[in-house]
């Protein structure tokens, strides 16, 4: 039997890692969960945002947390333009085309980064990179705590946006009945592009919270794509609270899986859970039927 202390530490480690997953998945919850735009470039776009934060910090000396407004604005504009001018027109009425065009985007982004920045792994060092706080007897890195609360804040903001604002109402209308939404005067293409932009703005925020505790290289997004989809489906398509819980659950599964099966098999649990959820409970843990 494993020591209680070790299991506790693994649990805590899983929760902080899970917060990172949740942060990355929140943008996808809006894009895929609500609007069913299958964004395969989510990981590659996260990679692009991480490079943005990295260069802001390394070249201009801007602290990653201070870069939040810049990254949110830049990623929003990028997302709006991508959906409006590339992904939307490529759809031709079939979801499969969105799948392919975002896959193409991911390949372009990843390899452009590879050609421009080489495959070196880069990190930034800040005053707080190595500082820790004591949480229930275990030491947790400060940036991970920040990421945890960042995930909570982003989830709360997204929930407010979708449930309380006019734009949120329009988004839900487009998600439920695009034709009907068009008939009552909603500019569907604009709403889709706004949603995609907001989803990527979440990614921009995620990159700011992620980089102080993480690293960036051209492949860094790959590990997040399938996990982000797992979190969205696990949490119940389109539920922000569900994505938050789903992210934490996935983090804990990975951490405990690594503890019991060995490091290399740690991620196995995530994908097995994903397959099982898709097959047996596609509405997710917290989704409504």
């Amino acid at each position: 039997m494993l020591d209680f202390q070790i299991v506790c530490a693994a649990l805590l480690n899983g929760l902080t890692q899970g917060a990172v997953y949740a942060l990355v998945a929140l943008g996808l919850t809006l894009i895929y969960g609500v609007l069913h735009i299958v964004n395969f470039a989510h990981g590659a776009l996260l990679m692009a945002a991480l490079y943005g934060v990295f260069f802001l910090s390394a070249r201009l000396g801007i602290d990653p947390y201070a870069a939040l407004p810049v990254m949110i604005a830049v990623m929003f504009v990028l997302g709006y333009a991508l959906q409006r001018f590339v992904i939307g027109p490529a759809r031709h009425g079939r979801d499969e085309n969105v799948l392919l065009v975002t896959l193409g985007l991911a390949i372009v982004l990843e390899n452009a980064a590879l050609a421009a920045f080489k495959s070196d792994t880069r990190t930034i060092e800040t005053a707080y990179t190595f500082s820790t706080v004591n949480v229930a007897g275990a030491m947790v890195a400060v940036p991970k705590v920040a990421a945890f609360f960042g995930a909570l804040a982003v989830a709360a903001l997204m929930l407010l946006l979708v449930s309380r604002t006019d734009l949120g109402r329009a988004i839900r209308a487009v998600a439920k009945e695009p034709q009907g939404a068009r008939l009552v005067g909603i500019d569907v293409e604009h709403v889709l592009a706004m949603s995609f932009g907001i989803g990527l703005a979440c990614l921009g925020a995620a990159a700011c919270f992620l980089l102080p505790a993480y690293y960036v290289n051209p492949q860094v997004g790959n590990g997040f794509v399938l996990i982000a989809f797992t979190v969205v489906v696990l949490g119940g398509m389109g539920s922000f609270a569900g994505a938050l819980a789903g992210g934490l659950i996935v983090g804990v599964i990975e951490s405990l899986g690594g503890l019991w099966l060995g490091e290399s098999l740690g991620q196995l649990g995530i994908f097995v859970v994903f397959i099982a959820i898709l097959l047996f409970r596609p509405r997710g843990l917290f989704g409504r039927a």
């Binding site: 590339v86 027109p89 193409g104 390949i107 080489k118 399938l226 994908f271």
Partner: protein, 311 residues
């Protein structure tokens, strides 16, 4: 009949190639084009003819490749016996994934995601069990003889040509058989196909088995030609992407689409290598951009240019 004639003409041209060309570079280029064609044909069978877009065809490729090497290295089988056995393993993997995902009605993006997840599961497993050599991979010893299915360039060209011909004949058969009509009905609308009495589940299962069998043959060819396989090559996303690029560029759901796409992509790859030198990633940027451009502007592929606007 016209299509059979085209297939025969294509086979004759490729078969005569080694008689006139002795350059290893050109023969290797032809082999790589036909290899991409084979992977594309496999994906095209399921996606172009059956409407099911898989993002995890590496699962079948890797299973075929690993089965072929493991049977030869661990059990001392002859390569010609290992080929059908490996293809059977790949087809079995297809039936497994198909039975689970079609039984529970996964379509569209859900099917793409579940196939990708299955490939990831196999990649992680291959990384950690002894049978596959773990992360180190498996080496197929060099033993150049026709009995061991290891030839010179010309011999490999004939081998891959034979496999591509199987793929071409399969699409020819799909276009004129009852099964092909069922599959087209399923692709164009599952509910209406079911209403007409088509057993949707069985038809999709047979399609994924055929597609997986062809894909695993590609895996067997890969290890015979390159003598090495590891979890990332076998089950990583690169092979899954390679399999879908050629048919989308060439023309989805057409017999010669994968071949056309493979030629275009190979030419593009060579051109970018000549222009940009050996900067890593540049040729893949071009592939990705072509994929985006094809879906945006030419959703019916290069073949669509020739087919006119009527169909």
């Amino acid at each position: 009949m016209r299509e059979l004639g085209a297939i025969a003409a294509f086979a004759a041209v490729v078969a005569l190639l080694p008689l006139f060309v002795s350059s290893g570079f050109v023969l290797n280029l032809a082999i790589m084009v036909l290899y991409s064609t084979l992977l594309g044909q496999a994906w095209n069978l399921l996606a172009g003819f059956g409407g099911q877009y898989s993002f995890g065809h590496a699962l079948f490729f890797g299973t075929g490749a690993y089965a072929a090497v493991a049977l030869q290295v661990h059990l001392g089988w002859n390569a010609w016996l290992a080929l059908p056995a490996a293809v059977a393993c790949g087809a079995a993997a297809g039936v497994l994934v198909g039975a689970l995902s079609f039984r529970y009605g996964l379509r569209g993006s859900y099917f793409a995601l579940v196939t990708l997840a299955f490939a990831e599961v196999f990649r992680i497993l291959a990384n950690s069990v002894a049978f596959t050599g773990g992360g180190v991979g498996l080496l197929l010893p060099l033993r150049e003889s026709a009995a061991a299915m290891q030839f010179g360039k010309a011999g490999f060209l004939y081998l891959i040509l034979a496999l591509v011909l199987v793929g071409l004949l399969a699409t020819w058969w799909l276009k004129r058989s009852r099964f092909g009509a069922w599959l087209a009905a399923v692709r164009d609308g599952e509910e209406s196909a079911a209403a007409l009495g088509v057993d949707v589940f069985q038809v999709k299962l047979a399609a994924i088995a055929m597609s997986a069998a062809l894909m695993s043959a590609g895996g067997v060819f890969y290890v015979q030609y390159f003598h090495y396989i590891d979890p990332h090559i076998a089950y990583g996303p690169a092979v899954s992407v390679e399999a879908l690029l050629a048919p989308i560029v060439g023309g989805l759901g057409t017999a010669f689409g994968p071949l056309l796409g493979a030629v275009v992509l190979q030419a593009l790859g060579e051109a970018t290598r000549n222009l940009a030198g050996d900067v890593p990633g540049v040729s893949l940027v071009a592939y990705g951009a072509v994929l985006v451009a094809m879906v945006m502007f030419l959703p019916r592929g290069v073949a669509g240019l020739f087919a006119g606007r009527s169909a």
